[in-house]
């Protein structure tokens, strides 16, 4: 794991090469290094990190997250891995929920194809430039993004003796 100072160095390099306001924060807790990036510069930061002095050439996982109480609700995480240095770095962006759009990273990391479709299917973050932006897990005509925290859990209320009478059996 890049330790705290290593993370600051990376943040510094990104600020110089990509844009000053690209990095909005760095967080280092329990040997997990996370680099927070502004949504507009995600693609350039990832491209830079891919060709940086110490390259992070593998994107292991791309997943979404919903921090409901906090304001920019939707978060998209890019777990980068460098196989030479056996090092992991997480690049995180925070998006509002009204019209979440992000540029796709498919040409940089082809592995992002299915994972971007899953983030779109579950959280509604639209990735521009993705060749086949459709739902991957839910049926095509499903409304709503299930893994947002305000989406109801669904399922049936469990039958007990006290609420047995409330729910009609399927055959009556």
């Amino acid at each position: 794991m890049p330790d705290a100072t290593g993370l600051e160095l990376i943040a510094q390099q990104v600020r110089e090469n990509v844009a000053d306001e690209a990095v909005t924060g760095t967080m280092y807790a329990r040997e997990q290094a996370t680099l927070e990036v502004a949504p507009e510069h995600v693609r350039e930061v990832l491209a830079f990190l891919r060709e940086a002095g110490e390259p992070w050439e593998n994107l292991m996982s791309l997943h979404g997250c919903d921090y409901l109480p906090e304001e920019p609700r939707l978060g998209v995480h890019y777990q980068l891995l460098s196989m030479e240095r056996c090092d992991r770095l997480c690049v995180k962006t925070r998006l509002g929920v009204d019209d979440p759009r992000l540029p796709t990273v498919i040409d940089l990391f082809p592995t992002a194809d299915f994972q971007e479709r899953e983030v779109f299917d579950m959280f509604g973050v639209f990735f521009e430039g993705h060749p086949d932006m459709r739902r991957i897990l839910m049926p095509e005509d499903y409304e709503g993004f299930p893994q947002r925290r305000d989406f109801p859990m669904g399922g049936e209320p469990v039958l007990f003796t006290f609420n047995e009478g409330k729910f009609p059996r399927w055959y009556d």
């Binding site: 329990r30 997990q32 996370t34 593998n58 994107l59 995480h77 777990q79 997480c90 082809p110 899953e118």
Partner: protein, 414 residues
């Protein structure tokens, strides 16, 4: 007049069909069919929309989601130690790896240390799970290619491993044996002798599989030089596990980032050369041999001591203490009713599952329920490599590719 048979199939086909040929693209010969959700060769409910030209597969489009059970959403509604049961049901052949990744992520968030004996027990059960998973993969993989004996042998030996799981945790599959902070129960007294008995038997059985398949001409022709994936393309697609190692890249998380005391054992990482189906089969076979070595070393060096952490905030106090000490009673009550609270934070921990890197990303918001659980499933990512393997190959080779890719649809669809 040129010799009709030497003209390649499409040109010859062109002259037979009635429609005016011209430079019109030949796609009208292509025939799209669903090797759909219910199919013997898809190892579960995977729908492969394949465009065929006669017997040659031109394009494959995997369509998934047919067994999506919203496990990640259900985990957000459960306490931490109840989420282990949900997480285990994702990749239902490597349930120990799921639980291991989730427990490590929560332990990183909690900042607790797992005692050495629990780490060794986790290694023993993970490696036994790896053997069972590879056995089942080879059994159904060989069945797809036509060798049904491998199914009987594979299931027979897999039952031996499941007996060991049943002895240590009481259940054959989805044993819920790993607990946050260690292992649920210490292993029963007779467990070591039974595992040693199994370890003597297993290499002989693996030699039998090798004798059955390795010199079988049909098997060699069906798997050699079919479904070749270049190492560079595999790395681009994020493929990990036996498929990446079969292309020659020795990336194994147990060696690269040793977790849970894997650095104490020396074992080799089997690596293929060409990256075709035969190499994947060989890598899985040799991995089983390596797992046997790991378990032997783990059993020899099994330290004494606690099988779960002593931190009473996380682990249940032993029963007899409840009668005497008040604190144990309070800890017990707190844990059983509400579960332990995890300080806010995020953690991503990865584990080497039989199919590749199984990563678990947990976000904690300070309550006793995880805010977000995401499992980076190896089959989900490896499935993207299927179109690259199967393009311009015959249907028989395409089925061999799916068999050797060994996708577990529970993990793909989560």
């Amino acid at each position: 007049m040129t010799d009709p048979l030497s003209v390649p199939y499409r040109e010859r086909e062109r002259s037979v069909t009635m429609e005016p040929m011209g430079e019109e693209p030949t796609h009208h010969e292509l025939f799209t069919i669903n090797i759909g959700p219910h199919h013997p060769a898809t190892h579960g409910v995977l729908r492969l929309l394949t465009t065929l030209e006669g017997e040659v597969v031109r394009d494959v489009k995997p369509i998934i989601g047919y067994v999506h059970t919203g496990i990640e959403k259900s985990c957000e509604d459960q306490q931490y130690w109840k989420a282990i049961t949900f997480v285990e049901r994702m990749d239902y052949l490597a349930y120990y790896s799921n639980a291991h990744a989730f427990c490590m992520a929560v332990e990183t968030l909690l900042g607790i240390k797992v005692p050495r004996r629990a780490q060794y027990l986790r290694v023993i059960h993970s490696e036994l799970g790896r053997i069972a998973s590879h056995l089942f993969a080879l059994a159904t993989g060989a069945l797809d290619i036509g060798a049904i004996t491998m199914l009987w042998w594979g299931c027979r030996d897999r039952d031996l491993v499941l007996d060991l799981f049943e002895m240590s945790s009481g259940q054959r599959i989805h044993t819920r044996y790993f607990q946050v902070g260690g292992v649920m129960e210490d292993i029963p007294p007779g467990f070591e002798q039974k595992v040693r008995g199994f370890l003597e038997l297993m290499p002989k059985r693996i030699d039998q599989y090798e004798a059955l398949l390795d010199r079988n001409e049909i098997w060699l022709q069906r798997t050699k030089n079919t479904g070749i994936l270049s190492q560079q393309r595999a790395l681009e697609l994020g493929v990990t596990g036996p498929i990446l190692r079969s292309t020659g890249h020795p990336w194994d998380l147990r060696k690269a980032t040793p977790y849970s005391s894997y650095e104490d054992f020396d074992f080799a990482v089997p690596v293929g050369s060409v990256g075709d189906n035969y190499d994947r089969f060989k890598v899985r076979l040799d991995e089983m041999r390596e797992s046997v070595k790991i378990i032997e070393q783990a059993l020899d060096g099994l330290p004494e001591g606690r099988w779960i952490t002593d931190d009473r905030k996380v682990a249940l106090p032993p029963r007899h203490e409840l009668a005497t000490s008040m604190e144990a009673l309070i800890h017990h009550f707190k844990l059983v009713t509400e579960g332990f609270r995890v300080p806010p934070g995020e953690a991503y921990e990865a584990v080497e599952s039989p199919r590749g890197e199984m990563g678990c990303f947990v976000v904690a918001d300070g309550s006793s329920k995880p805010a977000r659980v995401h499992m980076r499933d190896p089959s989900f990512v490896n499935l993207q490599a299927l179109p690259d393997m199967a393009r311009d190959s015959l249907i028989a080779d395409f089925i061999a590719c799916v068999a050797m890719l060994d996708p577990i649809l529970g993990g793909v669809d989560r």
